[in-house]
Symmetry: C2
Subunit: 347 residues, 2 copies
């Protein structure tokens, strides 16, 4: 099976390297790794954040291991050349529409959350975020108003097929967990949300075993702080999911710990840590590779059909933490490679 | 001076009543109060959540004291008849474009926040949210895609005049505080945000004394949990402001404590607690009136030119809390009226 490794910018290469070591250790020579350029690194080497060769590699692969993109050198570039466009481009080109982000506190890290320990400990949720539609991919641009003023605009929309496709992932994810699905929208203001809510309700007829609820996004942002333990699975659109999933991650503790998967309808997936490229600590061996290692466990489970190997990696991470493995973000002094060593030793 | 009191639904009437008592106590007979129907209560009595008579009263008033709207009986109504439309309608009709929400923890209530006490104690920020534009008020509706699928859409936009107007409020608010302004957008994806950021940067030339920064909304949602103390004044659009201001409020502790003001360009304002109508506890004397009482202090300061009276109310609230006044949301047993009594006694 072919894994496209796209290390990208900043700390991306360091953390990806450790995940590859771990994947090799648990899968022997089942996997072939082929590396591609992405993000600011790709722009600098090849003039585009998502070169054709990378897109081709991604298409051929069974799964993509993605580091991070984002490079301050590229901030002044036109939008379509900025590193972030690589991730949007990959999602769209490969139809990666379902972003899954589990947020759960490792008990060993209870002190790392800004929330009270008892509140943080209650978090065990998955956010299912749509990543192929919404205001991200609608018509957008600059125009002049009737008075000649500059105006920026972006069209938000969802159609019923797009909503049903992601809602189904939400219902199925809930079915495999505690059976509760909360759909988040802003139906009191947005027609896009009203359609979203209507379609989710229609689909719920097929899932009588799932307890469905609806919440406005402003209330959800409150509830994720006040009582995050009330959530099992959250399903939401691209924009609200962007905001809420980052918020939920932070509630669960260090952002250096949390993995993500983005799947298409054939379970091909892109796996990446939720943290960014962190240019300030790049190349210093300070980055925590656990989020990327945990992303590779998700890869084994969702794209490669190897749930036992996924479990082994997750258990090894827990064991390494229990044994005291701590990178600087967790209050320790271990380097990126030493964190990788600790996981390998625990395997 | 004429105050329009619009108590609205649920706990709105109870909390508004206490704020009126406090306003009368500090202003003698300076103020005339005239009551109007709004929200579900107005729909039931007059067939519309924002009747003409209410709009007329609001227009004639110097300031509006608003309780809350939202009534489960009205959930199945068409959108334009739902209680929430009253607040959107008032904002638009009166040009109330600048929503100010201070978030600060009363030291007496350090235990009420879900955040660690030391994190919660660091919060002292104001969110300046635009409330006349964005995806809230753009063209919206349902249509069919080329394949005949139902689709909902909403157009997000801002023009340079709208952005400059609210950004100026942000800069001025920062100037009267610690001199730091953080503008929040999603300029890596949205053209509306790119225009927003461009205009904020242009305007910053007039405010060389203000330290301006920019943050993406997903990162802001994280930072409000991780390290809310880093913020002084936040300025953002209508949709992001809706989400982030509710999140920030919850970080600062009980939602029963936080006031808000929404101003137009002649400093006419609508003053309301940030909590909703809470139909589950309506009519039971369980609601905390302090958010509405603190909103009336903002009214004195921003619309009525009475800063000393505003200070007196805020000091009385702090004194009442220090003296042990606690409604159920604060872990106590005092009724809505007893909380009002405690503030009056402290005056
Ligand atoms: C980099 C950016 C375009 C992206 C997004 O907004 O989707 C990121 O924030 C994410 O969540 O993956
Ligand atoms: C009731 C609703 C339309 C409103 C909004 O979204 O603006 C509310 O959430 C608020 O923040 O005042």
């Amino acid at each position: 099976m072919l894994i496209a490794t796209l290390p990208g910018d900043g700390i991306g290469p360091e953390v990806t390297e450790q995940a590859v070591r771990v994947l090799k250790a648990v899968t022997g020579d089942l996997l072939t790794f082929e590396q591609g350029l992405v993000g600011g690194a790709a722009y600098k080497a090849a003039g585009h954040p998502l070169p054709e060769a990378t897109l081709d590699l991604a298409r051929r692969s069974d799964a993509i291991l993605f580091g991070a993109v984002g490079d301050p050198d590229c901030d002044a570039l036109e939008r379509h050349l900025r590193p972030e466009q690589a991730i949007l481009g990959l999602r769209k080109a490969l139809g990666l529409f379902a972003n899954l982000r589990p947020a759960k506190l490792f008990p060993e890290l209870a002190d790392a959350s800004a929330l009270r320990p008892e509140v943080a400990a209650s978090i065990d949720l998955v956010i299912v975020r749509e990543t192929n539609g919404d205001v991200y991919f609608g018509e957008k641009g600059h125009r002049k108003t009737a008075d000649g003023l500059r105006e920026g605009y972006d069209v938000m929309s969802y159609n019923e097929a797009e909503v049903a496709r992601i809602a189904r992932v939400g219902f199925e994810t809930a079915r495999a967990r505690r059976g509760k699905l909360c759909s988040i929208d802003k139906a009191n203001v947005l027609e896009t949300s009203q359609l979203w809510r209507d379609v989710v309700i229609e689909l719920s007829a097929e899932y009588p075993d799932i307890e469905l609820s609806h919440m406005y996004v402003d209330n959800a942002a409150m509830q994720l702080v006040r009582n995050p333990g009330q959530f099992d699975v959250i399903v939401t659109g691209n924009l609200f999911g962007d905001i809420l999933s980052d918020q939920a991650s932070m509630c669960a503790g260090s952002i250096g710990m949390l993995p993500s998967a983005t799947l298409n309808s054939s379970n091909q997936g892109l796996y990446e840590p939720i943290h960014g490229s962190a240019p300030d600590i790049a190349g210093q061996g300070k980055a925590n590779p656990l989020a990327t290692i945990l992303s590779s466990a998700m890869m084994l489970r969702y794209s490669l059909g190897k749930p036992d190997e996924a479990d082994r990696i997750e258990a090894a991470v827990a064991k390494a933490l229990a044994g005291g493995a701590r990178s600087p973000d967790l209050g320790g002094t271990m380097t990126t490679a030493q964190m990788g060593d600790a996981v390998l030793a625990a395997l």
